[in-house]
C-alpha cells in the first residue's frame, strides 16, 4: 500500500501517479446480478396490487405523484391561459376557482409530499442497509390510501357543483356548508383526511425503520443526509398531520352534522381554523422541502468528489429547521392583526439562519472540489440558486411590516413557487437523473438532460419572476381577472409565455425517459462513483436489496471501499475493518445462491429476515414454525 494522503495535500496532487487500476469497482464484489433470483418489479397486475416490497411501492409512489404533477401542471396551464389577458376568456369564474384550488391541493398534497415519501420508500432501506421498511404491509396500505384518496379529490370535478373552490387552505366560513355547498368540497376534505393519514402512517414506518433497522456500523451520525432528512421530516409529519386531520374532521362535522366549531354565527371561531391549519401548514412546506434538501446533499459530494462539508452542522441545522418550523405558523396570519406579531416575526426570521447554514454547507462541499456537471449536478445547482431566490423573499415576508402589504398578493405566489419550484421541481429532477440508473439499470442522455435543464431554468424564471412585480404593484392572488392597467397586462403575458417554455422543457425529458427505458439495462452498481450504500448493490437492486455489505466506517462506505487501496483517503479504520473481515472468513465475498426449492418458498411463503455475516437478505427456511406470526416483529 502506497501512502497517499490527499487530506493534507493542498495542491490536490494527491492522486498524482497513483495507479487507477487499484481503485476498486463495486461491481467486482457483486458478481452476476441475475444469480439471485428475479430483480425488479412485479410483473403482473396482481403482483402490483398485492406487493409489499418497498422498491415496488416506492416506484408506485413516484409514478403516481408524477401523474399528479402532470395534472397539477395542466391546471396551472388553465390558470396561466386565463390570466394571459384581463377579462374572462377561457373558463367561468366557478371553474377558475376550482382550478386554482385543485392545482394547489394536487401539487402540495398529492405531488410534493408523496414524491418525498416515494423516495423514502425506495431509497431509505437501501441507504441504511436494510432489506425493507419496518412494516411492509402498513406501507402498502399507506400507498393505496394515498392513491384512492387522491382520486377522490379529482373526482370532485365530476361531482354536482364541481370540485372544491375555497383555496388550498380552506378558510371557514367560506369552506362551510353555506359558503361552499356541494359534494366536491366534502370530497376534498375526505381526500385530505385520507392522504394525511397515509402520510402519518408512512412517517411512523420511516421512524421505526431508521431506529431499528440500520445495519451494524451504520450509527446515526453515519447515516446519509437524505435518510436523516427523511427521519426529521417524519417527525414533523407526526406533529403536523394529525392536527390537520383533526381540524378537517371538525370542518366536516360543521358541514355535515351541524356543529359550529368554525362558524362565527353560532359562537365558533374562524381564527381557530387558521391556527390549526397553519400549525400544520407551515411545517408542511418544510415537510415538502427537507427530503429534497437531502437529495442535493447526496448529489453535491458525488459530483464534487468531496465529502459533505460540515456533516454534523448540516444535521443540526436540519433539526433546528424541523423544530423551529412548528413554531412559526402564524406568520401566515399577520394580516389578521389578532396575534403576537413579534413572537412569530422572531421565529420566522430565525429559521432563515439554519437555512442559510445549509446553503453555505452546500457551497462548502463544492469548494476545492473537482466538479463535473452531469445532469443531476446541473439540477442541484439550479435548485441552489432558485431556492435562495425564494428564501430571500421569505425573509421579507417574515417581517409583518412588509407582509401586511405583500401577503395574499402575487408576491406570495412568486415566493412560494420559487421555494417549492426550487425544491420540488429542480431537486426532484436532480433526484430522478441521479437515481435513474440505480432504479432502472439504464442511463439517461446527458444531451437531452442539458436541454431539459436550460429550458426549465428559463421557463421557470420567466413564469415566476414577474409575479413579484405584479404582487408588489397590487395584484391579489386567486383572481381570474385583473384590471387592464399599465404593466399588469404585459407582466401577466410574460408569465403565461413562461409557462409555454416550461411545457417545452418537458419534451426532452419525456423523450429521454422513453428512449432510456427502451435501451438494455446494462449499468453497473455504481455508475457515478457515489458514496452511500444504495450503490453497493446491483442496479436495479437485488430482491431484498443486499447480498453483501461493505464495512461501514464513515458516512461514505462505498467511497471508503473504492479507495481501500489508498491509505489515508477513506475513513481511517475502514481498511482495518476490511482486513478483519477478510481474515474472519476466507469466503468473504459469498453471494447467496437460491436453490429452486428456496426460490419456490420465496415467492409463496413467509421468510425470516436473517442477518448473515455478509448481508441481510439470506433466505433460509424458517426454522421455528410458530415464531414470527407478526410479520413486522424484529427479534
Amino acid at each position: 500500500m502506497t501512502a497517499v494522503d490527499p487530506t493534507v495535500d493542498p495542491d490536490r496532487e494527491a492522486m498524482g501517479g497513483a495507479d487507477p487500476d487499484r481503485l476498486v469497482e463495486i461491481d467486482d464484489f457483486l458478481g452476476d446480478p441475475d444469480a439471485h433470483g428475479p430483480r425488479g418489479l412485479p410483473r403482473t397486475i396482481i403482483g402490483w396490487l398485492t406487493t409489499t416490497d418497498h422498491k415496488a411501492l416506492g416506484i408506485a409512489y413516484i409514478v403516481t405523484s408524477m401523474v399528479f404533477l402532470g395534472i397539477g401542471g395542466a391546471l396551472a396551464g388553465v390558470i396561466r391561459a386565463e390570466l394571459a389577458e384581463p377579462g374572462l376568456q377561457l373558463v367561468s369564474v366557478e371553474t377558475y376557482n376550482s382550478v386554482f384550488t385543485i392545482h394547489g391541493s394536487v401539487m402540495v398534497y398529492l405531488f410534493a409530499v408523496p414524491f418525498g415519501f416515494g423516495m423514502a420508500n425506495y431509497l431509505l432501506p437501501l441507504q441504511i442497509g436494510a432489506p425493507d421498511l419496518a412494516f411492509p404491509r402498513l406501507n402498502a396500505f399507506s400507498y393505496w390510501l394515498y392513491l384512492i384518496g387522491g382520486a377522490v379529490m379529482l373526482l370532485g370535478f365530476v361531482a354536482d357543483g364541481g370540485a372544491a373552490s375555497f383555496g388550498w387552505f380552506a378558510y371557514p366560513p367560506l369552506s362551510g356548508a353555506a359558503g361552499t355547498p356541494g359534494i366536491g368540497a366534502d370530497m376534498w376534505i375526505v381526500s385530505i383526511i385520507l392522504t394525511g393519514t397515509s402520510g402519518t402512517l408512512t412517517a411512523v414506518n420511516v421512524i421505526a425503520t431508521v431506529t431499528m433497522m440500520r445495519t451494524p456500523g451504520m450509527t446515526l451520525f453515519r447515516m446519509p443526509i437524505l435518510t436523516w432528512n427523511m427521519f426529521i421530516t417524519s417527525f414533523m409529519v407526526l406533529v403536523a398531520f394529525p392536527v390537520l386531520s383533526g381540524a378537517l374532521l371538525m370542518l366536516l362535522a360543521d358541514r355535515q352534522f351541524g356543529t359550529h366549531f368554525f362558524d362565527p354565527v353560532d359562537g365558533g371561531s374562524p381564527i381557530l381554523w387558521q391556527h390549526l391549519f397553519w400549525f400544520f401548514g407551515h411545517p408542511e412546506v418544510y415537510i415538502v422541502a427537507l427530503p429534497f434538501f437531502g437529495v442535493v446533499t447526496e448529489i453535491f459530494p458525488v459530483f464534487s468528489r468531496r465529502p459533505v462539508f460540515g456533516y454534523k452542522g448540516l444535521v443540526l441545522a436540519t433539526l433546528a429547521i424541523g423544530a423551529l418550523s412548528t413554531s412559526v405558523w402564524a406568520h401566515h396570519m399577520f394580516a389578521t392583526g389578532d396575534l403576537v406579531l413579534p413572537f412569530f416575526a422572531a421565529t420566522s426570521l430565525l429559521i432563515g439562519v439554519p437555512t442559510g447554514v445549509k446553503i453555505f454547507n452546500w457551497i462548502g462541499t463544492m469548494w476545492d472540489g473537482s466538479l463535473s456537471f452531469e445532469a443531476p449536478m446541473k439540477f442541484a445547482i439550479g435548485f441552489l440558486v432558485t431556492f435562495v431566490a425564494g428564501g430571500v423573499t421569505g425573509i421579507m415576508l417574515a417581517s409583518p411590516t412588509l407582509d401586511f402589504h405583500l401577503t395574499d398578493s402575487y408576491f406570495v405566489v412568486a415566493h412560494f413557487h420559487y421555494v417549492m419550484g426550487g425544491t420540488v421541481i429542480f431537486a426532484m429532477f436532480a433526484a430522478i437523473y441521479f437515481w435513474w440508473p440505480k432504479v432502472t439499470g439504464r442511463l439517461l442522455s446527458e444531451k437531452l438532460g442539458t436541454w431539459h435543464f436550460w429550458l426549465l431554468m428559463a421557463g421557470f424564471n420567466v413564469t415566476f419572476f414577474v409575479q413579484h412585480l405584479l404582487g408588489r404593484a397590487g395584484m391579489p392572488r386567486r383572481v381570474p381577472d385583473y384590471r387592464p392597467i399599465e404593466n399588469f397586462e404585459l407582466w401577466n403575458k410574460i408569465s403565461s409565455f413562461g409557462f409555454l417554455i416550461l411545457v417545452a422543457s418537458m419534451v426532452p425529458f419525456l423523450i429521454n425517459v422513453v428512449r432510456s427505458l427502451r435501451s438494455p439495462a446494462t449499468v453497473g452498481a455504481d455508475p457515478w462513483h457515489a458514496n452511500s450504500l444504495e450503490w453497493a448493490t446491483f442496479s436495479p437492486p437485488a430482491d431484498h436489496n443486499f447480498t453483501w455489505l461493505p464495512p461501514i466506517r464513515s458516512e461514505r462506505p462505498v467511497f471508503d471501499l473504492r479507495w481501500i487501496n489508498f491509505e489515508g483517503v477513506g475513513a481511517p479504520t475502514s481498511a482495518d475493518a476490511w482486513e478483519a473481515r477478510h481474515d474472519h472468513d476466507e469466503q468473504w465475498l459469498p453471494l447467496h445462491q437460491w436453490s429452486d426449492e428456496e426460490e419456490q418458498k420465496r415467492t409463496t411463503g413467509p421468510r425470516p429476515i436473517e442477518r448473515t455475516s455478509e448481508g441481510q437478505s439470506s433466505d433460509e427456511d424458517r426454522a421455528d414454525g410458530d415464531r414470527g406470526d407478526d410479520g413486522e416483529e424484529i427479534t
Binding site: P131, R137, P216, S327, R553, P606, R611, R622, G628, I634
Partner: protein, 126 residues
C-alpha cells in the same frame, strides 16, 4: 439507543420551552395546547426509547466499530404479498366518503375494514 433517546428528549424539551414562552408572551390557546401536545409526543417516544434501552441494553447497531458480521440471526419476517392493504384502503375510503355521500357507504366501509382486520389477525402467513 441512547442517542435516539437524547434526540427525542431534546424534542420534548424544545417544545415545552417554546410552549411556555408562547404562553408567556400571550399566545392563543390553541397554539399553546398544540405545542404542549407536541411536547407529549416527543416525551412519549423518548420514554419508550429510554425504557427499551434500559431493558435491552445498547444495541450493536449503535456501536461505531461493528460490521454486518457482528449481528446475525433472525431479525424479522418478510410478509408475503397480500391483497389486504388494498382492501383496507378501499374500506377506509368508503367509511369516510359515506359521511357526505350517505351512511350506507360508511356501513359498507366498516364491514370491509372489520373483515379485513379480522382476517389480517388470523392470517397465518403474515
Amino acid at each position: 439507543m441512547k442517542i435516539e433517546a437524547i434526540l427525542w428528549t431534546g424534542v420534548a424539551v424544545f417544545y415545552i420551552v417554546i410552549g411556555l414562552l408562547y404562553l408567556a408572551v400571550g399566545g392563543d390557546t390553541a397554539g399553546v395546547v398544540l405545542l404542549l401536545l407536541a411536547t407529549g409526543l416527543g416525551g412519549l417516544v423518548a420514554g419508550w426509547v429510554w425504557d427499551w434501552t434500559r431493558r435491552n441494553g445498547e444495541r450493536v447497531e449503535n456501536r461505531a466499530d461493528v460490521d454486518a458480521i457482528d449481528s446475525t440471526g433472525v431479525v424479522g419476517v418478510y410478509p408475503t404479498a397480500s391483497l389486504r392493504p388494498l382492501a383496507l384502503a378501499i374500506g377506509v375510503t368508503a367509511m369516510f366518503l359515506g359521511i357526505p355521500l350517505g351512511s350506507w357507504l360508511s356501513m359498507v366501509g366498516i364491514a370491509i375494514v372489520a373483515s379485513q382486520v379480522l382476517l389480517l389477525t388470523r392470517d397465518t402467513d403474515t
